[in-house]
């Protein structure tokens, strides 16, 4: 008959506290033109969104609140609006 005995002074589970240093080794790549701007502007998506615009220039000369509204508005859609979409009179099919 198998008997298992555990010393009463020994807990069922013993968790030893250990200190571990976790080191992350990675680098964020941020397009240089956006490095001074809010971190939300970093990354490929935002780079594409504001491609061709000198946001640093506008950030420097624009009121902070204006700049926030400006970057929140421009380039948010990718739909390819065409000139005819502005016509208010519908050609019949």
């Amino acid at each position: 008959m198998l008997q298992i005995s555990m010393p009463s002074e020994t807990p069922d589970y013993q968790i030893k506290s250990t200190k571990t240093d976790v080191k992350f080794n990675y680098t964020f790549h941020t397009p240089s033109r956006f490095q001074k701007i809010n971190p939300i502007l970093s990354g490929t998506h935002f780079y594409e969104r504001y491609k061709g615009l000198n946001l640093l220039y506008y950030q420097e000369i624009m009121d902070t609140k204006d700049f926030e509204i400006f970057i929140g508005f421009i380039g948010e859609e990718i739909v390819g609006v065409k000139e005819r979409d502005f016509e208010i009179y519908y050609p019949e099919d």
Binding site: E48, L53, D63, D66, I69, F73, V79, E83, D85, F86
Partner: protein
Amino acid sequence: MAVTIVNYTPGITFVNSVYLDTNILVSARDRKSQRYNSAALLLGDLFSNEVDLFITNLVIDEYIWALLRAYYRRDNRKELNQHIIKANPQVLLQYHWRIASGVKKILKFRRLTLASNLVPSKEIVVKAVNLMRTQLLSPRDAFHLAFIMKLNIDGIVTSDGDFDNLQIRRKNLIIYKY
């Protein structure tokens, strides 16, 4: 006194008050638009120059229609028309949230005036109908110009040529083309 056309280049200065045609609002928002860069830059310059901006309900109506058509074409590969909407009004709901979000952002522009109720409607109607005859404008463009003239707005930003041939004697108007 005359109408002056100014081709936009980044960094130019503006008059104190400008009426925004719908196309700049749509093009600045749509980065697939051919005019995205110039529209966005122009909007940035208007903001940084702290120009007083004016629109009317008509502009918002046109903004909604332009994006609604573009959304529908992108998703369905065909043009949206009145027949489709009448047959299936649910189409409007499909894109409502996104359109409402864009409109809300326009209304957050500082120094933006939604000018529709600043002039008695009767005066606008009379003026617009008169401008149709004297300036050979379409009804919608005549209404835009009626607001501009009644509110004594100094300029308009637009990408189309509908206002290029205006013959206005009693007012200076700068047309910023982009």
